[in-house]
Amino acid sequence: MNTSTRRKKRVDQLIRSVFLVATLLSASFIIIIVIFIVIKGITPFITNNDGLGVVNVWTFLTGTVWLKGTAFQSNLYSIGFIILNTLYIAFLTLLLSLPVGVLTALFIAKIAPKKLAEFLRTIVELLASIPSIVYGLFGIGIILTFVYNLSSVFGIQSKGGNSVLATVLVLALMTLPTITAISEVAIRSVRKDIEEGSLALGATRTQTNFKVVLTSAKSGIFAAAILGIGRSLGEATAVSLVAGNAKSGPNLGLFDITTTLTSTMLQGLKETTGVDYDIRFSVGIVLMIVILITNFILNAVKKRVGNVNVK
């Protein structure tokens, strides 16, 4: 072995250990964060909270009122209705953003002329990088007014537009770029020969796009849906600005005010102390579990439906 090869090997090893350290560092941070949240979050259930008594896990997970009694003097917290609200909103959001996102992706990948496709792709990437507070301000300025006026068209008096619908619209706007970008990649990577086979058999372009391209890309589209739902479950800032932050529920009407796990954590976080502070970490644990379970289920479904092979 000559010196130059040996040196190359040493550099190789050095770089590999740098990568290892970086990986360990980021992985350990995730573990530290989880441990921190879990420790903080179980405090209300295992200590007597400065004389208020232990929070009951069962009522916490099933109740329909956020806090019964006076803050700082009561331990009767419940988030049962909030879990339900959160899932309901995430589902409605997906119902709205998935079709629109996938159709946009199809347009960009298959139908639009090259220049236009390039332009639209940039726009989608830009949209994906807009911070959530901006979406929230847009929601408070435009969407709330829109929903308020829409509700009065239907003869319903909404609470200033703060509602399930406004939340869903804001979240749909936020998840749309993610869903579009990932579906677009999936659609583009559908093998050309499948498509050409369909066309050769006499199917029209539209038939091919819907029946062949989309079905072949469904595994990737499912991945987009999973990421989209993750974003809508985890969004706090924008949601708390347009949800109305209901304190009891469940809130299922489209024009009813609502609340989600994240917006509940955020409400008054900076001004509160004691069990009222710690309980927000408990909500955080529940949120992590909800996200884990949702992802698990969606991945299982994805495995069952996404059997067509795309990259």
Binding site: G69, T70, L150, V153, K159, N162, L241, G244, S248, D276
Partner: protein
Amino acid sequence: MKKFLLLVLTITSVGVLSACGGDNEEGFDTSKNITVYTRDTSSGTRAGFMEGIGFGEAAENDNVLVDGFVTNDNTAILTAMKTDEYGIGYIALASLNNTVKGLSFNGVAPNVQNVINNTYDLKRPFNYVLRAPGDYESPEVEAIVNAFVAFLGTTDGADVIMDQGAVALESSKTWDEIKNDHDICSADNSAIVIRFGGSDSIQKVAEALSAAFAPKCGNFVPEHDHTGSSDGFKRTQGAEKDGDNAKDIGFASRPFKDSEDGVDGTQGQLAWDAIVAIVHLNNELDNVTAADLKNIYAGDFTTWADLFEK
């Protein structure tokens, strides 16, 4: 299928168009429900408002409020009142602008003059209490505390207070004009800790004041531990004045009680915390009483007609 799609499309577009076309021309409809907006239970503004309208039990308890109230922060409530014709909310007076209607309280218009001349009642005082003269850790600490109180009465202090959304008392002198009366501030005080405590509603104002004043007074170290108004007196001149939690300056976001009567010259006011009830500009209401607001927030008045026809 196609027909169905077309139908859905038509209905949605009609709905969207008319929603964009927006504002209801028929004027203020008093048969509509009142939409109640509030801050959350940890907010000092909420405590001030609820106590001001005689509904103190709602300060930290959501269950006594009317069903279906909207919880949001100061800015979001202000913005909501631009849209929601039938809403009512409350904000710090400092945030009031002409995009919404600020209601007179018991017949007095909500503005800074009326707060300072003490005619506008939906407010609470921000008071301070010091240790008794000579009862400090060192003469230096006492001198800095006295300089701080002098600073509260300057226009520089007033600016800081106004920035935090409270209403400062009248002041005419700047700190530069009076700083020569406080020699201590030209010394290096970076080793001296000044302990602030008492009302947590005043915490933000107090922190802003100490942060603004420390560089002007030899960089003393402010230490804030705000636990509630009753600890303001207790930890400076009361039962805990020599305990571990003792403070050099305490605050109370309410008038001092008879049992909190300190040594002459050690208690005073630094600001008012004024709150204003707000409604949409189209609302015909101009004035409310404390009882009106209590009835609205407790859910005894659910429509605007209930209020107008009481």
